[in-house]
């Protein structure tokens, strides 16, 4: 387990948790559905070769309480996320986003193209294909959500399991809140307008899809691959579902490490 340091960034009166671990070149990570309740094997692996900085996003665990409820528009989201990135000293660094975190990573890069060195999108969301919408993560019961998100839901379920001694109600509220924050960003179909802006991504971009992704239809892949103006490399990770960071943490970290190099 990496030695994880915790700090906070204050934006608009709310404190956003920042976890940092590892050494080497710096890389920021935006987590996917549910945010992060604890440090994960994926981050652990990534931190073997890099300084991994994980800021919490608004409304997600560590994400400024109910900070998301102030965000009415995509511009509101992006301005807050930009401030969080700046506060976490991630300006001009490599940035990884997973699922909804990838939607924000891509969009923030499109709006401020020169503030991201290289971009990694794992199972990105943010663009809607009306003919083949993404699976509805709020159209399944919470109990069935891990099975939608992961090929191996046990890993995600273990991550979400309440630690001993934690307050059960507060634990439950934090997860419902994270789900609400995701809904606030993506409801009802995941379209945040990224399709209009993805062409403003000029940096090298690496896109990873889980071969068993049950959320994003395969037909969406070209929308992301062909969108950015920068060089795009695309890989498919066998054995991974939508949240590849839980399904195949080591393989995903290695792939990303290969892309980012030294």
């Amino acid at each position: 387990m990496s030695d994880v340091q915790q700090s906070a960034v204050r934006v608009d009166g709310a404190d956003f948790r920042v976890w940092t671990a590892g050494s080497g070149p710096k890389v920021g990570v935006f987590a996917g559905f549910g945010g992060l309740l604890q440090w994960t094997p994926f981050l652990c692996k990534l931190a073997e070769t890099r300084t991994v900085v994980v800021p919490s996003l608004p409304g997600f665990p560590g994400g400024g309480g109910r900070a998301h409820v102030a965000l009415d528009s995509q511009l509101d989201w992006l301005l807050m996320v930009r401030e969080i990135l700046n506060g976490a000293a991630l300006e001009g660094e490599d940035l990884i986003g997973i699922s909804l975190g990838a939607a924000l990573a891509a969009d923030v890069t499109a709006i401020w193209p020169h503030k991201t060195k290289r971009l990694v999108l794992v199972s990105p969301l943010g663009i809607c294909d009306g003919h083949a919408p993404i699976a509805d993560p709020w159209g399944v019961t919470p109990q069935n959500l891990p099975a939608l998100l992961c090929a191996n839901p046990q890993a995600l379920e273990a991550h979400q399991k309440m630690p001993e001694g934690a307050d059960e109600l507060e634990w439950e509220v934090s997860q419902i809140r994270a789900n609400e924050a995701a809904a606030r960003l993506l409801w009802p179909n995941g379209d945040i307008g990224l399709g209009k802006r993805i062409g403003r991504i000029f940096c090298d971009t690496f896109i990873v899809w889980g071969a068993a992704d049950k959320v994003v239809p395969e037909s969406h892949r070209p929308l992301y691959k062909n969108g950015p103006c920068g060089k795009v490399t695309e890989r498919v990770l066998n054995g991974a579902g939508h949240q590849a960071d839980f399904d195949c943490p080591d393989e995903l970290a290695s792939m990303i490490d290969d892309f980012l190099g030294n």
Binding site: V140, T141, N179, A181, A182
Partner: protein, 423 residues
């Protein structure tokens, strides 16, 4: 006590194997099951029933709003209410109600309800529900994280539109209108009574108290289960120093009346089992979108009506879909007129509810049986319960129509003659 006749307008021909072959009655209900030609008859039957109830002496007739729903065929209750405004004369028209956050701009609701209030001569009760998750977030795509804020803002806008006689600008978070100046305005001043259908949210109770609105618990599960919610409501009113006027509250209750309990069991078995077996076949996937329920309510461990129904739907073996279970659980008050009157008095007293909304038609009940149930209630139950509370409390939340002699009467005698035009 006010006795109000409520119609859900359920589709009456869901197949016998509906429960087994369909995930739910709401949102993604199989559209091929809807036969518009049959619905033509259903709508007309339902409106006949509402109009009949109005002639039987009920204090109000009630309509409500649902979307993509097999047990509620009224996406627009205002359409039905406008027809009722013309076809009835004395009963109040309770629109229970319009889900405020769904309309853009919400002044549309202010206008339509004002129209119906004008057409009816001031007989409108304006129900303002947040709306169920199925209706609002799934069928109408509203963001559950923004729904309540939108709702409250829409409420503020509608109320201002009704009460301010000078044009104004509204710069809300979600609604930006340079010119708000509705035509028509409602007959009732300052506005039609506002009633709030809700689940068991403490915040809703507090808001009703603050705004002096009627809180309505529209339960499908009878007063035995509703009692705990209503006790919670009254405890909160007491804490807020609000008087225990029963007219602050409304409650929905299924009733089935016949000459005897045995006869009632026989008559209402099929429609009751149809309603609880097919109509309340609610898919839990759509019951709790994140953000719909406030964190305060989650912390209070209060569960809404729809979530309860959905949970019951998944608890196999625990769902009361068989008549005896339905009765044992107290979902439906059933029996002879005297038996139902006794149950109703008891329930109204226990819950301290002055506005009792009655479902005399439910499930696949046909028009004749609905009319029989309605008549039995009106003639033999209603007289036994109507006096309840009236010697103690005044209903401050009831419409104030134009006096009957001054009201317009629909004119069926127009013949288009020149003599008439010259008058």
């Amino acid at each position: 006590m006010k006795l109000m006749w409520f119609h859900l307008m359920p589709y009456t021909e869901l197949p016998d194997d509906f429960r087994e072959k369909n995930p739910g009655v709401w949102v993604d209900i199989n559209s091929k099951l809807f036969d518009p030609a049959r619905a033509h008859h259903m709508y007309n039957d339902f409106m006949d029933e509402l109009e009949y109830a109005a002639t039987c002496g009920f204090d109000a007739i009630c309509v409500n709003e649902h979307h993509s729903n097999g047990y509620g065929l009224m996406p627009s209750p205002n359409l039905i209410a406008s027809s009722l405004a013309r076809r009835t004369s004395e009963a109040m028209i309770c629109i229970m109600g319009n889900s405020l956050a769904l309309y853009n701009p919400p002044t549309r609701i202010a206008e339509e309800m004002a129209m119906i209030d004008c057409i009816s001569g001031g007989r409108v009760i304006a129900g303002f529900p947040v709306g169920t998750p199925m209706d609002t977030c799934y069928a109408y795509g509203q963001n559950p994280s923004m729904l309540r804020d939108r709702y409250y803002e829409a409420h503020d806008l509608i109320k201002r539109a009704w009460t301010e006689r000078e044009m104004f600008s509204f710069n809300g978070r979600y609604n930006k209108l340079r010119y708000v100046n509705i035509w028509p305005h409602p007959v009732q001043k300052p506005h039609p009574p506002i009633w709030i259908p809700g689940g068991g949210s403490v915040e809703t109770w507090q808001w009703c108290a603050e705004m002096d609105y009627v809180y309505c618990y529209l339960s499908y599960f009878g007063y035995k289960i509703g009692l705990s919610t209503m006790r919670g409501f009254w405890n909160e009113m007491e804490r807020l120093n609000k008087e225990r006027n029963p007219y602050r509250a409304g409650f929905l209750q299924f009733v089935g009346i016949a000459e005897s309990r045995e006869e009632a069991m026989r008559l209402y078995k099929e429609p009751a089992e149809y309603f609880y077996g097919r109509c309340l076949h609610i898919d839990p996937r759509f019951a709790q979108p994140p953000g719909y329920t406030t964190e305060a309510t989650i912390r209070a461990r209060v569960e809404g009506q729809v979530a309860t129904a959905a949970k019951k739907a998944t608890a196999r073996g625990k769902t009361a879909t068989e008549m005896q279970d339905i009765i044992d659980q107290g979902y439906i008050m059933i029996g002879s007129p005297d038996e139902v009157a006794e149950q109703l008095r008891h329930a109204a007293r226990e819950m301290n509810v002055g506005h009792m909304m009655l479902l005399c038609q439910f499930g696949n009940m046909n028009k004749q049986l609905a009319a029989y149930n309605t008549k039995m209630f009106a003639e033999r139950v209603l007289p036994q319960v109507r006096d309840l509370f009236d010697d103690e409390w005044e209903d401050h939340w009831w419409p104030t129509p134009i006096p009957t002699p001054e009201r317009a009467v629909p004119d069926a005698a127009l013949d288009g003659s020149i003599a008439e035009a010259a008058e």
